[in-house]
């Protein structure tokens, strides 16, 4: 998902380089993403750093293949879906406010019966 924004290697205050987090799905959550468990995503560069809230909105708009209500509830993930950022609980990282770094590893695990 590469946009036309110019990549900046000097990382000035205003322009962020594109980011490449890895997004994984477990526990049945992959069913909502065509059964694909691992995704290597490229986020378009933008002036402000990407945070989890924006990532989730981006996932909803670009990756979720069906039934968005089974993955998200409002701005955040549906209760029952766990989020790990670099193998740590996202509650320790600020949940939606966590700012993404390049090559971050995000895992969504569903603990629910239905998906």
């Amino acid at each position: 998902m590469v946009t036309s924004m110019r990549r900046s290697f000097n990382a000035t205050l205003k322009c962020q380089p594109e980011m490449f987090p890895r997004v994984r799905k477990r526990g049945g959550a992959e069913l909502l993403f065509d059964g694909v468990k691992n995704h290597h995503v490229t986020l378009p560069g933008q002036s402000d750093p990407w945070d989890m809230k924006q990532l989730l909105a981006w996932i909803r708009g670009n990756m979720l293949k069906e039934r968005p209500e089974l993955f998200m509830q409002g701005d955040t993930v549906r209760p029952g879906i766990l989020v790990l950022i670099n193998d740590a609980d996202w509650e320790l990282m600020g949940e939606l406010e966590y700012q993404l770094q390049d090559q971050d590893n995000i895992v969504f695990i569903s603990t629910l019966h239905g998906g």
Binding site: R26, D87, A88, D89, G114
Partner: protein, 398 residues
């Protein structure tokens, strides 16, 4: 608090939720390691302390309840999901210790392939069976992979509770113990492993008539609630039969705290209030000779999911009847959605339900003069909670 229109996004009702968004928070136990997860309301654990905590909880649950005797044969009911696979890994962990605190029972594994009821194709079923078989073979325990269609060839004795006499002078139990001890003395460890390996059963073959019968049975039920209930009943009967046939006196189920909280509330909605203690308690003695135990009932889904992920517990995700269904598809599904959503804003929900369930006991019917055993439901084998005549011996549930 529990109104239908309430906004669950947490904007109004997050009094109980405490977020401390600090990176590099220290583990609350060892105070040294960097915390990697939060369990319960605000307890941060590092990786190694969490592992210790998880393992200790399992041992403590078994030790506290003392229902599993040394050398007893225990069947582990594994569905492929993270909870039952974590249970399997805990059993492996417990049996492998050299210390005197080593767990001392003989495990077997059972997996019921219910693809026929859930609408999975033959290829999908074979694939998941193969994946599970490789996991089971790794453990070295005896395993049974049985398809749900086999339930049609069960004898009617499965609907009769066995003798619940725990008296050690009961000849068949004592004989089994004596025989096992004798066998153990003659066989070396390698011989035992090879003898046990030959006992593995993969009975996933089923006749087309049974397959059709199962499909007809499930399509005749109008609601998903009824289907889920029926699936549960059939699965229990099949597990019970395999346990009885192969001399297993205990069956371990992988129900977690969260799942049991949901089960408790759904069962009340289904009219199974009288059987709550057996359905959700640690031990379920309704079958008499085979006792169901639930050693994972103290773990929340989050703890199990994290443990499974962090310590690479192999599991296989298998779609069930209610996968990808909407919130109101069945009573069970609706209850799960309700409890999960409530838990999000009030993190003590599940533990409160769990603690309440621990206080439940089955009411014993008054001793009658004729000493006639209380009538049991034909399907769930719990004591009937309603007075009915002989022609209709089903209890109130769907």
């Amino acid at each position: 608090m529990c109104q239908v229109e309430e906004d669950y996004n947490g904007l109004e009702c997050n009094q109980e939720k405490i977020t401390v968004p600090t990176l590099n928070r220290k583990c609350m136990k060892c105070k040294e390691g960097t915390a990697v997860l939060i369990i319960r309301v605000n307890d941060a654990f590092c990786r190694s302390c969490f592992k210790e905590y998880f393992i200790h909880k399992f041992r403590a649950m078994l030790g506290k309840n003392r229902v599993i005797f040394p050398q007893e044969k225990v069947l582990l009911a594994v569905s492929g999901g993270t909870a039952s696979c974590s249970m399997l890994s805990q059993v492996q962990e417990g049996l492998s210790r050299e210390a005197p605190k080593k767990l001392r029972f003989v495990p077997g594994i059972i997996y019921i392939d219910d693809g026929g009821a859930c609408g999975r194709s033959a290829e999908e079923r074979q694939r998941s069976n193969a994946l599970l078989k490789s996991i089971f073979t790794e453990t070295g325990f005896t395993y049974f992979i049985v398809s749900l269609e086999q339930v049609f060839s069960l004898p009617t004795s499965v609907l009769v509770p066995g003798t619940s006499d725990p008296d050690p002078s009961n000849p068949s139990y004592k004989q089994a113990v004596d025989q096992y001890i004798k066998e153990k003395q003659t066989l070396t460890e390698e011989n035992v492993a090879s003898a046990v390996a030959q006992l593995n059963i993969e009975d996933s073959a089923y006749s087309p008539e049974h397959k059709l019968a199962l499909e007809r049975l499930f399509s005749s039920m109008k609601t998903l609630t009824a289907k889920e209930d029926m699936l549960q009943t059939l699965r229990s009967h099949l597990i019970l039969h395999i346990a009885r046939e192969n001399g297993y006196s205990k069956v371990m189920m992988g129900d977690s705290c969260s799942r049991l909280a949901v089960k408790l509330l759904s069962n009340i909605a289904l009219g199974r209030g009288a059987a709550l203690a057996s359905d959700t308690g640690f031990s379920d003695p309704r079958y008499g000779d085979v006792v169901i135990v639930r050693p994972m009932r103290d773990y929340s889904s989050k703890e199990i999911a994290f443990y499974s992920r962090m310590f690479n517990v192999p599991s296989v995700f298998i779609s069930g009847l209610d996968t990808k269904t909407h919130d109101k598809a069945s009573i069970q599904r609706l209850t799960e959605s309700f409890v999960t959503n409530l838990q999000f804003d009030f993190p003590s929900t599940v533990s409160t339900i769990y603690r309440t369930s621990e206080k439940l006991h089955t009411v014993m019917p008054p001793q009658s003069q004729t000493a006639e055993p209380a009538s049991k439901c034909l399907l769930c084998l719990c004591t009937l909670d309603t007075k009915v005549d002989c022609t209709a011996e089903y209890c109130l549930s769907t």
